[in-house]
Symmetry: C2
Subunit: 245 residues, 2 copies
Amino acid sequence: MATKFTEKHEIQFYECDVTGKLTLPMLLNIVIKTSESQSEALGRGSDFVNSLGLGWVITQHEMTITRLPKTEELVSVTTEATSYNKYFCYRNFWIHDESGQECVAISSTFVLMDLTTRKMTSVPLDIIEAYDCEKITKILRGTKISSLEDDSDAREYRVRFSDIDGNKHVNNSRYLDWMVDSLAYKFLTSHEPTFVNIRFDKELAYGNSVTSHWQEASGEQLISKHRIKLDGTLCAEANISWRSM
Amino acid sequence: MATKFTEKHEIQFYECDVTGKLTLPMLLNIVIKTSESQSEALGRGSDFVNSLGLGWVITQHEMTITRLPKTEELVSVTTEATSYNKYFCYRNFWIHDESGQECVAISSTFVLMDLTTRKMTSVPLDIIEAYDCEKITKILRGTKISSLEDDSDAREYRVRFSDIDGNKHVNNSRYLDWMVDSLAYKFLTSHEPTFVNIRFDKELAYGNSVTSHWQEASGEQLISKHRIKLDGTLCAEANISWRSM
């Protein structure tokens, strides 16, 4: 049984939007920070992984949101590396508020990338053993993402210097920023997300200009659909479920 | 003599750029957070200020940078409201590393804005008395910012949903992001800022599209010049001094 790892985090005003609640991109940053802390505590931090010529890449997040924490809240961020197979590592995250109520639960899939070839590699025992998580043979399929019907709604985003992280590519959180930004201000200030399912297909570099395509939230479940493309190639796809505030 | 207020802050990976060092926009966010904490400790937090129909607005920062802290560093952020006159409040900030070395020193000018008229108002005693800072009659003039010669270099930035903060306008840190982003990747990864002098002239709202104009760092002191304009109106201006790494 894998060990859970918990850290406290105070939500900063600059991690929140105009409504005073944590943004979805910052939610991703905060949980990833906790998995990095766990890895470092186990002697498997990014320096160690990089020394093997490898880097962690996220391929999917499924985020169930009870409520997004607010500015100045002190939350507990918990993570657990649950299982792995030849290529995929599965990890869960939770955010709890000070009264112990669950705010967010996330199921994520990670792979290891060869930093030279930028291709996926099998998971070395030397990395994964430290996490004490279950080896499985099955590939866990995430919840399917329903695709946009067409790309008629499109907005261009040029990758900025500040979008590039220590892995020398666009940080995953930015894709979600470009997706959320496509929705109307009025909608975003009167609705909150309840479920986000995002899949990352292609890394992006400085100099790239992508298009963010969207379909506004519709249906009883108020699901908005999103995809990010680079020169016609799919880079990420997401569905976000919303409820009115 | 005003009281200094200090908080610890751990630099997060998502507050840093590809070089692993704190970004200038995040540096601003981190120090502003500490002044907000001080104000709350004195019962003069944003709820109190807003209840008077007012909000704080920054008009200038002069940032002297010995070194930018790195990811995972635990720094001390200190602030002191030094003096005020009828309209202007002056505040200093410092960031020190764990060995007590100064990383950054900032002199800032704040004014109070009427949230309805969006105009500057005189400083109410009910707010400022709590800080125990000196009343002065003189208006302190900051270091002059040398203007760009022309606007031929220009890049457009559309204000995004995530640029808007709790004051319902673009957060000050974003202006600096648009300025830094205009410089070349190769320059930004081989130089570090030593002094930033930024003045804010006009607030920006959701829906605005601004142009960021720049002049690359030149001269012995390697000073880059920047300005942000909205429909021809100056919104912010800055000089940044650099040194090669």
